[in-house]
Amino acid sequence: MNMKISTIILTTLVVSVFISSCYFDVEQELYPTNKCDVENMSFANDIQPLIKLHCQNCHSSNFASAGVILDTYAGVRSVVDDSSFLNSINHTGDAVPMPLLPNAKAPQCAIDKCEEWVKDGAKDN
């Protein structure tokens, strides 16, 4: 009987915690002014932080998976020049789709920023 009461209390507690912390947020509504700004992309300020977040776990000087090094401008430039950079992040062409795990694309805004930077000449700015 005691076991049963403790079970009921435990279940009620778990359910209350779960329900009280339920939110129905949508990014579009939570951040309505959050537009993707792709003007004047800078390698150091805009592109490098994105590459660090999405790519450098596997592609750095210390851990150059598939020989790709993305923590230097020269390394990034080489994959931009052979087109594998944009093909990988857009999941197009023959390049291996990236990020590989969990095999989902980076956010569209990050992809748009990289495309704009490449279109502007992929400068080291």
């Binding site: 076991m3 079970t7 009921i8 435990l10 279940t11 778990v14 359910v15 779960f18 329900i19 912390s21 339920c22 939110y23 129905f24 947020d25 949508v26 990014e27 579009q28 509504e29 939570l30 951040y31 959050n34 977040l53 998976s65 598939a66 291996v96 590989l100 795990l101 969990p102 095999n103 989902a104 694309k105 956010p107 990050a110």
Partner: protein, 287 residues
């Protein structure tokens, strides 16, 4: 919507306790054991629970996609894993925690078996039923640190009713109506609540070898088009205290929100992952 979930949860809980009371009030023979070899079928929970005061150390490992070819050694060069500890506070209640490399996620769950299948002649207790609720916390760095980010946006929940029947020594089936709730989603096109129905089959080939198939059908229109239904096929190899599970799956998530709402790989494109689960149990409270 919140009210609807509360009502639904309440009704299911009432039903659960009513059914468990019913089961205990009857004078019935032996319970059916080993509907499945272990507490997980492949990705999902099974109706099996571990014994009271047992600690179960589990590693769920998923390699990269076979479609990576010889260069990626058919996926072996890549790996994702979940490491977790399950602990049984009673024979019917298990609590668990885990950490997955998938989106650097921490997760916790509570599992309660409230109805058991019995070996009675007139088949009055034909099924086992288990309730599993889980919470997962995505600990990735915020994509945009300049905006106001909320801790609640990191959380997702899952609630499952597992209904299983062992038909004979070889065949067991399990049905898994599931609700996954995500606190934050990208777009109003999608839904914070995701309803899915899962099904699983266990077919015992030899005394210590079984074939498992597990599939979740996500009701369409709730998640992005890039996501699909997780399908997994695998083998259980039981060696007493150890159970090895080897499988092929298109899911890389190793917790409910991950594999039900975020499976983007497809079997028809060869994006299949080889993986294994290893379980080691430790008795902490004597016999």
């Amino acid at each position: 919507m919140l009210e609807r979930i509360s009502k639904l949860t309440l009704i299911i809980l009432c039903l659960a306790f009513a059914l468990s009371g019913f089961a205990q009030s009857e004078d019935v023979p032996k319970t059916v054991e080993q509907t499945f070899y272990t507490t997980r079928i492949i990705n999902s929970h099974s109706t099996e629970t571990i014994d009271k005061k047992t600690l179960d150390f589990r590693i769920n490992h998923r390699f990269g996609a076979l479609s990576g070819g010889a260069y990626e050694f058919f996926g072996i060069d890549r790996a994702m894993m979940r490491m977790g500890f399950d602990y049984a506070i009673s024979d019917d209640i298990t609590l668990g925690i885990g950490r997955s490399t998938f989106e650097k996620t921490f997760d916790a769950f509570a599992k309660y078996r409230f109805l058991r299948q019995y070996e009675d002649k007139d088949d009055k207790h034909p099924i086992s039923m288990v309730w599993v609720s889980g919470v997962s916390l995505n600990s990735l760095r915020w994509a945009d640190r300049d905006r106001e980010n909320y801790f609640s946006s990191r959380l997702s929940y899952s609630h499952q009713l597992l209904i299983a029947r062992k038909f004979n020594k070889k065949v067991s089936l399990q049905l898994m109506p599931t609700l996954v709730h995500r606190n934050l989603i990208d777009s109003t096109q999608f839904s914070n609540d995701i309803f899915a129905v899962g099904g699983a089959l266990r077919y015992k080939i030899m005394p210590s070898l079984a074939l498992n198939v597990e599939y979740f059908h996500v009701i369409p229109g709730q998640i992005g088009e890039q996501f699909t239904h997780p399908l997994s096929v695998g083998f259980d190899i039981s060696t007493g205290w150890h159970t090895f599970q080897l499988h092929f799956t298109n899911a890389t998530g190793t917790f409910e929100e991950g594999f039900i709402a975020q499976t983007s790989n497809r079997w028809d494109k060869g994006q299949i992952h080889f993986g294994f689960n290893i379980s080691r149990q430790f008795h902490l409270g004597g016999y």
